[in-house]
């Protein structure tokens, strides 16, 4: 605990030093353009003033992100387990997976807009594509790499059907599934900001882009800080959940 405190005290010191540097260059020097680099007081003011607007943006971003991630998780894990367990099919289809998975999801924007009726559904589709591949491929990998000894075990007790999937395949591959879901989560924030570039009327990314157009960089920075806080919080919560699901990997005998 004391060691933690010591480590974090250094971290905090660096944080305040960075703020001091910002204050120095924005308030006491002419080196930086004051429009692009506003002083801290202005950023804080913008943060307070725009807080409601940013919260609304957060809500509308989540309205895109949550359905897309949920769908990507269900289909990614379901499809991953399906192909993970079937070597023949996996070999037939894996060239498709390898070609499609590295494509930036934003490449599909024209088709998403052309085929889907609303901006919202098109954005969800793009976000889904971005989150699906890591989860899908991670799940396949997790299933393929299940320890042979666990397989022996499952065979010996004759696991079949629902128990086979829920009590064996999913838990055994869950470390890979969850780590790829973490990747998908981070990736989906990147895609979210891009998806909000077309047609969005609100959103965490939209907020920043909107005020960039008016050169209101105090709002832009407030938005960036707000994004950072939200994304960090979500990732920390996810890590907590992940740790809880994978509790069995960190048990100690007493």
């Amino acid at each position: 605990m004391r060691r933690n405190l010591k480590h974090y005290s250094i971290t905090l010191a660096i944080f305040f030093l960075l703020i001091l540097i910002w204050v120095y260059f924005t308030n006491f020097s002419d080196l930086l353009n004051p429009v692009i680099f506003p002083p801290i007081s202005e950023i804080a003011g913008a943060f307070v003033e725009a807080f409601d607007e940013m919260l609304k943006g957060f809500a509308s971003s989540m309205a895109l992100l949550i359905p897309a991630l949920a769908l990507a998780f269900i289909l990614g894990v379901g499809g991953g387990v399906f192909f993970g367990l079937r070597q023949n099919l996996r070999e037939i289809f894996s060239p498709f997976f390898h070609v499609l998975s590295p494509l930036p999801p934003t490449l599909f924007i024209p088709y998403a807009i052309a085929l889907l009726p609303t901006f919202k559904s098109a954005s969800i589709a793009i976000l889904f594509i971005g989150a699906f591949w890591p989860i899908f491929l991670g799940t396949i990998q997790g299933v393929v790499l299940i320890d042979k000894r666990y397989w022996d075990n499952a065979k010996i007790i004759g696991l079949k059907g629902i128990d086979f999937i829920w009590k064996f395949v999913l838990p055994a591959s869950s470390p890979y599934i969850l780590s790829s879901t973490g990747t998908a989560l981070i990736l989906s924030f990147i895609v979210l900001i891009m998806a909000e570039m077309f047609g969005a009327e609100a959103g965490m990314g939209h907020f920043v882009l909107y005020y960039t157009d008016f050169s209101q960089y105090d709002y832009v920075l407030a938005g960036i800080i707000f994004n950072a806080i939200i994304i960090l919080t979500i990732i920390l919560i996810f890590e907590k959940v992940k740790k809880r699901i994978l509790f069995w990997m960190n048990l100690k005998s007493d």
Binding site: I156, I157, L251, S253
Partner: protein
């Protein structure tokens, strides 16, 4: 019994239908293979994400397909765990148990499969000597109480003598072969202390080790001859 690489575990895996023979058949009780297989491995006989009782319920479910309620299954699991002196640890995860406890739970799960044949693949190889003796006693007791045939793989001569009615000695492979089947001349139940001091035991054990070592030395000599030839 046999040295490493002699095919003991492979033989066990063939019996358990975890591997298919390249040729030949495995006939047990005039039938090809066994339907219910109970196996205890050296480790990993339990899923680490399930508690001791959940692990056993999983095995019971298959055997008692829908005949028992969930509650009854858990009661039954507790009975099996009590049988191996783990009645207090039903809700523990394998990661929270010591090596000895894990193997007890693994034995409980193997018993819950309800097979007449119990296969054990060096189950106590990773345990400390005292825990090992305790678990050997447990196996003897189960063998006596439940009249189960146990095929037990080990490379420890004392363990083999303590537990076995007959010892099948494998020669070092590959390909491993069966060297000899030896009946153990000591009546059960055995008093460990008395036995270990008796001359008959020491002689029998030395014979056993000699038989095992003979194979190993022959193999070593063979290899040396080949290596010498290759060097010239």
């Amino acid at each position: 019994m046999g040295p490493s690489g002699s095919g003991k575990s492979t033989f066990l895996r063939l019996l358990a239908d975890l591997e298919k023979p390249n040729s030949g058949e495995i006939i047990i009780n005039n039938k090809n293979g066994i339907s219910d297989i109970a196996v205890v491995f050296q480790d990993y006989s339990l899923f680490p994400w399930l508690t001791a009782e959940e692990n056993i319920v999983l095995a019971l479910k298959k055997r008692l397909k829908g005949k028992k309620s969930k509650k009854e299954l858990f009661q039954l699991a507790e009975q099996y765990l009590t049988m191996v002196q783990l009645g207090h640890a039903t809700k523990k995860y394998p990661g929270e148990m010591s090596g000895g406890m894990r193997q007890r739970a693994a034995i409980a799960r193997a018993l819950s499969v309800g097979s007449d044949l119990l296969l054990m693949d060096e189950p106590f190889g990773a345990l400390d000597p005292i825990t090992r003796i305790q678990l050997q006693e447990l196996v003897l007791q189960i063998n006596q109480d439940q009249k189960k045939t146990i095929i037990f793989v080990t490379h420890d001569a004392e363990e083999a003598i303590m537990l076995a009615d007959s010892i099948v000695m494998f020669s070092p492979g590959p390909p491993g072969k069966i060297l000899e089947c030896i009946d153990v001349p000591f009546e059960k139940p055995i008093n460990r202390n008395e036995l270990f001091e008796s001359r008959e035991f020491i002689e029998f054990r030395d014979d056993l080790l000699q038989l095992m070592n003979k194979g190993i030395f022959e193999k070593l000599n063979q290899k040396e001859a080949v290596e010498d030839g290759g060097g010239i």
